[in-house]
Point group: C2
Chain length 413, copies 2
């Protein structure tokens, strides 16, 4: 949780954190400054035990003030003078600017963790130059279980309410989508609109985006709404020109966030329009059984990897290929069982055969559970996914419940 | 232009480019693979003189195929075996995976430029480890005028058509916003809806987002719709709860992109509802005169910085403070005159007092021209902005023209 940041810094022997990059759609930045201010570019420096300080441009001073954090105008560090001091080298001038910023916060040495979305080459060149120019500061690039990823893996109540709110919007939009599909007619095995023309996936997605936008959500990662063979390739988003054929499985995976780059929600339902063939029902039921079984076995403190193993075992018992026997299988259960959800759509803890033992279901985690089965050659697939919060009382709660029905009834079919 | 990538690589003595990170909202990635595929995470390697090769996860194989590029499934490089080879070190295992990917393309040594949006600390740690483990490859982090920024600064015809299309959507939405405001009524100096309640900025922005979404655009960077004092702070986005008072300047700066993270358009209009006070008219006219004067002076091949100097000179002649006399001024003309627009909302060439001479108006640039004046204490401001393309015939063309009127007529006022 955010309140753990200082103890996590101490455990890693970090004296300060630097978060840089854009002011939005930059999760660690948003974690420290919130989602209310519009900042093209910002730097946040947090000293151990102190509140973060936000460095902003002059013309974004009012936006910076919205964060409620102490702020500094970076134009106080005059770039023209710094370039002179650096003998005309703009990269070194930027290093000197950071040196001055750190010094103004009383940081002249120690270990500083660096974070934030930037171009990879710029980061590599800039921080290499920084380290060579200022050897008294030790830059730390954390990989894996960083201060931020560790803190963000568990959510406080305020964060859970954000996720619950976007979850409620998500289920409303899933409901509107179901109602919209059910209100169309069948003709020659396809869903057709009132003008008799077949409905396309592009038209469904356009409505989904509108309903999300109306409710203050955005959809930066897109939506998976895929039918037939496409649905049976887990991350195929669906072909916009495809028609909606009755009796084929549709995988509808929706993962919007609060507008401006806030908290995400993630859920998947699998639908058959009008009716479901026996094969679809069988696969659907196997996934639902595994979903329910896994949910019933979730325990506070457990290692997430073990549920990935368990899901493989359960699917294997039902006769399906899994990652455990062939990691590259394109049939059966062939992806992670779940992942943390927060300011990033995918974050710790991950449910993967490769996750290490530090990825656990600690109190406050918000995770997806999303078993699935995929048979591209048979054009049939199912995935069922909800986002669950491990509450302080030890209960795993689905934050935005929605019915699991496979068949959406269609008029005239 | 994209067709210059190989000659730009040669000029920098680069044997290959590596672009890594998410598959969308990652401009250099989109530049190479387009905006049609949904890829959570990808690597693209381009050897000098060859087509880029896309490395993807197994479950995103169909999405990867949509790019039309040669593709490789990264799961062919088995992470469990690589971790064993790396003695259990996951960072080193990732380095070995990249080594294998490079080797499969025949790259065992040489200079490799690295690019793409990643966490700064991960980039620093990973590429430092990469460089130590594989010294026969020299990693190059380009800062400033990189291969990509240089290529992207000028657009080919296909790119211009993308920008023109999103520009047309932008002007449609600006027109709808004007019509919507004009169709409201005045009461006690405020714009009120049919129910008599004052309209808020939040309600206007919600409509703007809906109109954009309906047209296949997204708005990842938000919209500036600010009135009164807020309008006079260049990057204040406006207070959602603010009412719309007649006779105050509204700065409306809108910069959407194609859904999924494509090309941007950028424009600004300044409006007064119902009427404009003399002070607003004076400032507005000064900005319009400077806008027209600068546009008339734009010349192919010219250094962009000189127009920033020129705009300062023109505003000073009209009695306004400028950056040139006091870089930190909060009054008068206090920001860049313009910037390139493409897959990034701000890219080269920049019009700034600090831009170096390599930032020029080469044939194919798409740039904003956006002079402005700001007087926060007097609660009055104007910015006028269009996006212009320098055509092969030497003409600077506004890609999506829209009228410049200051006053929006309101019923009953």
């Amino acid at each position: 949780m955010k309140s753990d940041l200082d103890s996590l810094m101490q455990a890693r022997n970090l004296d300060a954190l630097l978060v840089t990059g854009p002011g939005d759609h930059n999760p660690y930045m948003t974690y420290l400054i919130g989602n209310q201010a519009f900042l093209t570019r910002a730097d946040v420096i947090k000293k151990a035990g102190e509140e973060p300080v936000l460095f902003h441009t002059g013309m974004e001073r009012d936006e910076a003030a919205k964060t409620g954090l102490p702020t500094r105008n970076i134009e106080a560090y005059r770039l023209d003078e710094l370039i002179r001091q650096a003998g005309g080298d703009p990269l070194k001038a930027q290093v000197l600017r950071y040196q001055a910023m750190f010094q103004d916060l009383g940081i002249r040495s120690g270990r500083v963790g660096i974070y934030g979305l930037l171009d990879a080459g710029v980061s590599y060149a800039f921080f290499t130059a920084f380290q060579q120019t200022l050897p008294e500061i030790t830059l730390v690039g954390e990989v894996g279980d960083s201060v931020f990823l560790s803190a963000m893996a568990t959510k406080d109540i305020a964060e859970v309410e954000h996720i619950r709110t976007i979850g409620k919007i998500t289920t409303e939009v899933v409901g509107l989508t179901a109602d919209f599909l059910s209100s169309q007619r069948e003709k020659d095995g396809l869903l057709v609109k009132s003008d008799g023309a077949p409905l396309t996936i592009a038209e469904v997605k356009r409505r989904i985006n509108l309903w999300l936008t109306e409710r203050g959500a955005e959809n930066p990662e897109g939506t998976i709404f895929a039918i037939g063979r496409d649905a049976a390739v887990p991350h195929s988003v669906g072909n916009p020109q495809d028609f909606l054929r009755l009796g084929q499985t549709i995988v509808f995976d929706i993962f919007p966030c609060e507008a401006g780059g806030g908290y995400f929600y993630d859920m998947t339902r699998t639908w058959c329009l009008g009716y479901a063939p026996d094969e679809a029902i069988k696969i659907y039921e196997d996934v639902l059984v595994v979903y329910n079984q896994i949910c019933s076995e979730l325990r506070p403190g457990a290692i997430s990897r073990l549920y990935q193993e368990r899901a493989c075992e359960l699917f294997k018992q039902r006769g399906h290929p899994t990652q455990k026997d062939d990691f590259q299988t394109q049939e059966g259960f062939n992806h992670g069982l779940g992942h943390g959800v927060g300011l990033q759509i995918h974050q710790r803890p991950f449910f993967s055969l490769f996750s290490d033992d530090s990825q656990r279901l600690d109190t406050g985690v918000v995770v997806t559970v999303e078993p699935g089965l995929y048979y591209p050659d048979r054009r049939v697939a199912t995935r069922i996914e909800d986002t669950l919060w491990l509450r302080p009382d030890g209960v795993f709660e689905v934050l935005a419940p929605y019915p699991y029905d496979l068949v959406l009834p269609i008029r005239g079919s």
